[in-house]
């Protein structure tokens, strides 16, 4: 199996979710992360101090799919998450050696 790990704009999540759903992919796990890339940050000024903030809020999405579905999944996500502007994010595909469903204890293939 493969873990398709996507880092997207938070406000595109809804679209990505729907696109995956259409393709029959329902299971996924998400979380809020902060990303740094070409997208430029901003300088914070507190009462006195300053601080450069170049991490931008992103949503990270893990979708485990069968090997042959990985590329397709990445494509669906990319199409749904794209705005075309810097900061759209990345997708990484990682190998998964084994996978289990806790409820039943069975291995998933």
């Amino acid at each position: 199996m493969m873990m398709v790990k996507a880092i997207i704009r938070p406000e595109r999540l809804e679209f990505v979710k729907q696109a995956l759903e259409k393709a029959g992919i329902n299971g996924m796990t998400i979380r809020e992360v902060q990303g740094r890339g070409d997208q430029k940050g901003i300088t914070l000024t507190y009462r006195g101090g300053k601080m450069n903030v170049d991490f931008i809020p992103k949503t990270m999405l893990d979708v485990i799919v069968a090997d042959e579905m990985a590329e397709k999944t990445a494509e669906i996500i990319m199409n749904a998450a794209r705005t075309g502007k810097v900061g759209d994010g990345r997708i990484f595909v990682l190998p998964v050696i084994k996978s289990f469903r806790i409820r039943t204890g069975e291995e998933i293939h």
Partner: protein, 398 residues
């Protein structure tokens, strides 16, 4: 009239209570926006408070309560509070206290308007807007209704600011929203309120402060203040329940709906608080909750991004309140009769007062916002809106 210490005590604390409402609006609104604009939303209320506080003691008070010029505006006799003795005047409370009490009404009105600017206003343009709006819109309206202007002469009743505060701010917010345009992404994805408990806290403080607003407007610690206090609370409760149950029918009873209904009830009772009985206040509150809820649904349906519903709640709630005052005013409370007691004239006077305030506030605000937008730009850049106003305007984040 000799200064009365009890009246003065009540007005002092009422002023403090109403002062608290301005940041309370900030927290109420702040919980409703997205996280990236939370600080911005609260900061706008503080900025309003500071700017209007200074404008009022220099210029605003005189424009509102200085000698009448043609029923439209006050003169500059009290510029910089000139001519106001720090000691006693001819009222039961010190003149400077009346200045302070009126000041906090001016600030909270301006704070309500920030609804139309939410999550997209440029701070520099906002500062200019505030100074001009409070001078060109609020001060004249306050003069009309309370400072010896034409609607006061007409006999239009507005106990604590239904027209001056709520109709004006609600319709101003609508005008602002039309000029500044929708938030990027509005209608495309849900903009989830990011901190509902903060909104509930703001609502609690608003409800609390409103006792100073309405019962303080009796300008005395007496039976009239008590009546205003109790009808205020009753209308708020009725409004909260009306919206709650109405939204329950359509889905789940949200806490936001409930407090929105409470605010609607508070708004609607504002002009009526010194004229109606407790049973009438139940009716006024229920109607306010249902009406404002319907207006909000209509607004959303129309794709109108008057983001935090100052229009549907303050504008329409205030309009209903002004009319309701003309309907429910009971002579037993304060000597004035409304439609129910057969006084058509009162109803008409109130409707005229309300519509005049509505039209004036909407039109002048629209022009003002447009002018500022043309000259320096009301709205932040797309990129700044995307990262949020906290970071882009204040260099801060939650």
């Amino acid at each position: 009239m000799a200064l009365d210490s009890g009246t003065t005590a009540w007005l002092l604390i009422s002023t403090a209570l109403v002062m608290l409402m301005t940041p309370a609006v900030g927290f109420f609104y702040g919980g409703l926006v997205r996280r990236k604009n939370f600080i911005s939303m609260v900061a706008l209320s503080f900025i309003v408070f500071a700017l209007v506080s200074i404008q009022w003691v220099i210029l605003g008070y005189s424009l509102a309560f200085g000698g009448d010029i043609g029923g439209l505006i006050g003169n500059l006799q009290h510029f910089g509070l000139e001519g106001l003795d720090p000691g006693q005047g001819d009222t039961a409370y010190p003149p400077l206290l009346f200045v302070a009490f009126q000041l906090v009404f001016a600030t909270v009105t301006m704070a309500i308007v920030t609804s139309g600017f939410a999550e997209r206003v440029r701070l520099s343009a906002f500062v200019i807007f505030v100074l001009l709006w409070t001078t060109l819109v609020y001060d004249p309206l306050a003069h009309w209704a309370w400072g010896g202007g034409w609607t006061m002469g007409l006999g239009s009743l507005d106990f604590a600011g239904g027209t001056v505060v709520h109709i004006s701010s609600g319709f101003a917010a609508l005008a602002v929203a039309l000029v500044i345009g929708k938030r990027a992404g509005f209608g495309q994805y849900t903009m989830e309120p990011h901190n509902i408990p903060m909104t509930l806290l703001g609502a609690a403080l608003l409800w609390f402060g409103w006792f100073g607003f309405n019962a303080g407007s009796a300008l005395a610690a007496n039976g009239l203040a008590a009546n205003a206090f109790l009808v205020t609370n009753t209308s708020a409760a009725a409004g909260a329940l009306a919206w709650l149950f109405a939204s329950w029918i359509r889905g789940k009873p949200s806490s936001l709906g409930m407090v929105s209904g409470a605010i609607a009830g508070l708004v609607a009772i504002t002009p009526a608080a010194g004229f109606v009985t407790v049973p009438a206040s139940i009716a006024i509150g229920i109607a306010a909750g249902l009406l404002c809820y319907a207006c909000m649904l209509w607004r959303i349906n129309k794709g109108l991004d008057e983001s935090l519903d100052a229009w549907s709640i303050h504008g329409m709630g205030g309009l209903w309140g002004a009319i309701a005052t003309g309907i429910f005013a009971a002579a037993a409370v304060n000597g004035f009769s409304g439609l129910i007691e057969g006084n058509v004239q009162q109803f008409v006077a109130n409707a005229i007062g309300a519509l005049a305030a509505l039209a004036y506030a909407f039109i002048v605000t629209y022009i003002l916002a447009l002018a500022i937008d043309r000259v320096i730009g009301l709205r932040v850049s797309e990129e700044e809106e995307y990262v949020g106003l906290d970071l882009s305007q204040h260099g801060e984040r939650v």
